[in-house]
Amino acid sequence: MSRELTYAEAIREAIDLAMARDERVFLFGEDVGVYGGAFGVTEGLYQKYGPERVRDTPISEAVIAGVATGAALTGMRPIAEIQFMDFITLSMEQLVLQAAKLRFMLGGKVAVPFVLRTPAGAGTGAAAQHSESLENWFVHVPGLKVVMPSTPADAKGLLLGAIEDPNPVIFVEHKLLYRVKGEVPEGYYTLPLSRSQVKRRGRDVTVVATSLMVQRALEAAAQLAAEGIEVEVVDPCTLKPLDSDPIVRSVVKTGRVLIVHEACKTGGFGGEVAALIAESEAFDFLDAPIRRLAGLDIPVPYNRELERRMVPQVDDIAAAARRLVREAC
């Protein structure tokens, strides 16, 4: 059985199910309690589970990451929230130099099973320090998993999968997805981390997209279908470790690939995907150069129109895919 839930509701349901099922799971972060989280995601959980298992912290992102690490190291299953992904910059040392490396440095004798949830993305007029998409920073760090769901059903299953996972997981949500609705199965289920999904089948061009850009790519694909262009949309879901096979197979089939993400282009995840395609057997099947469409290399502007132009929109994706299909090698 399934029913429609928003992405935010699906995440809340996952946390609720995990807490009901496993005493070790607890939730903490800034304003996650009575306030219900800055975006309302944790609404009601404080009332249900009480102040011991749903904890408000002071504004102290370094120690939030530290508490997640220390508690996970010694038998708990923490879910930490960093209120906006921008503020994860204040958590970096504990995440990158401690949590990510502990298992390796201690010869595999420990595990650090926590999930750090955080909303990323522009589009809310919150300007340069509340709109970042920093996922690729973490992709670069061995020892961290990075998950970025694009639908409510994926968000629920992947979050439960992340909570069960023995590794620290950076779980990147998108602010503009919180109110997006979709069918979500009832009850407890996990989706395996590291499984790319083909979200739409098509033969003409592959679009590899992440997070909100998956939704935009699907809209663009619907537009292009009316023009006779069949787009295949692949969503990695987990950026690290990346399940590359579905991407490679898709490009072998279509011979054309557009990679779309919101984060700035330079140093972004798209470069990694492009490289893996270039290194794979799909290279020989390419009928056009690999293309990337990504955020401009600037901080996110406040002005609404500048902000809109900074991030790929549906029309931009459609135009880029259309150009690619018309391009011959």
Partner: protein, 324 residues
């Protein structure tokens, strides 16, 4: 009289009252415009905190610096910014202080020494040590005052900054606007010490707590700290106790406090308080107060007109502002 108003002249007092009223009017207009759907983004209103913003900046010179916070409209006006260019920034217009790139949370007016509001809690606090060091190394007769909230005092960087400023004897005024809450987190839940200013002792610097809704008291303490800093006496931590009347931001249901509590603090309105004291002392008449308010209203109306009529940034300039 000197007791009541420190060394502030009647003329200066009327100016400061005008600033407080202008801040209130700016915030009320900002809220209105927001509710009318004219503003894209978020905002943090400082209604109720005008006494601390204006009292603190009154003790500074035009050449002194401030660093501000996400709740920074008041600081900006208090340091001497114009309401029209601020409003234009709020609208995201090219004529705004940050050319529409920064918005409410990044309001700055470099010419009046305001190095900017900040989207990051405690974001300005470490930088303040750098500004202080720069002043010291250039042998300038300046100080820097950094505003931050009660919530900011629990960021690690706050502690690093205070310690460094203390050991290097930097001319930094750490000005904490303790408005009792950091979003939903009360300072009583977030800290075990009663007074945030007590933390100064841990770094070997002077610390003082003042009634933030008493403009003159804020002025007096800030002036003393500024004098000490200018004389090579190093940094001070000032805690001004005040209250934010409005929600944290646009989306706050305010489940963490009672209406009675809000009402109690509204009865301690910093603006009404100064006005009343001035009237009682014969420095202001009811009619005179009306004149100040009328001036403020006209200024705000003009600011909104200016903002509405200003041009949007040219999209062709989108890549400007970064060297790399």
């Amino acid at each position: 009289m000197s007791e009541l108003f420190a060394d502030l002249t009647p003329e200066r007092l009327r100016e400061l009252l005008h600033q407080m009223l202008l801040i209130r009017a700016f915030e009320e207009s900002a809220e209105q415009l927001y509710l009318q759907g004219l503003i894209h983004g978020t905002m943090h209103l400082s209604i109720g905190q005008e006494g601390s913003a204006v009292g603190a900046c009154a003790a500074l010179r035009p050449t002194d610096y401030i660093l501000s916070t996400h709740r920074g409209h008041g600081h900006c006006i208090a340091k001497g910014a114009r309401a029209d260019q601020m409003m234009a920034e709020f609208f995201g217009k090219e004529s705004g202080y940050c050319r529409g790139r920064g918005g409410s949370m990044h309001m700055a007016d470099v010419e009046t020494g305001n190095l900017g509001a900040n989207g990051i809690v405690a974001g300005g606090v470490p930088m303040a040590a750098g500004v202080g060091l720069s002043i010291q190394m250039q042998r300038q007769d300046r100080v820097v005052l950094v505003f931050f909230g009660d919530g900011a005092s629990n960021e690690g960087a706050f502690h690093e900054s205070l310690n460094l400023a203390a050991i290097w004897n930097l001319p930094v005024l750490y000005f904490c606007e303790n408005n009792q809450y950091a979003m939903s987190m009360s300072i009583a839940r977030a800290s075990k010490v009663d007074r945030i200013s007590d933390r100064a002792a841990g770094y070997g610097m002077a610390g003082v707590t003042v009634d933030g809704n008493d403009l003159v008291a804020v002025y007096r303490e800030t002036q003393a700290a500024a004098e000490r800093a200018r004389g090579g006496g190093g940094p001070t931590l000032i805690e001004a106790r005040t209250y934010r009347w409005k929600g944290h931001s646009k989306s706050d249901k305010q489940r963490y406090r009672t209406k009675e509590e809000v009402k109690e603090w509204q009865d301690r309105d910093p603006i009404a308080r100064l006005a009343r004291r001035m009237i009682e002392a014969g420095l202001l008449s009811e009619a005179g107060l009306g004149d100040v308010q009328a001036r403020v209203d006209a200024e705000m109306a003009a600011a909104i007109e200016f903002a509405k009529n200003s041009a949007e940034p040219d999209p062709a300039t989108i890549l400007e502002g970064v060297y790399a």
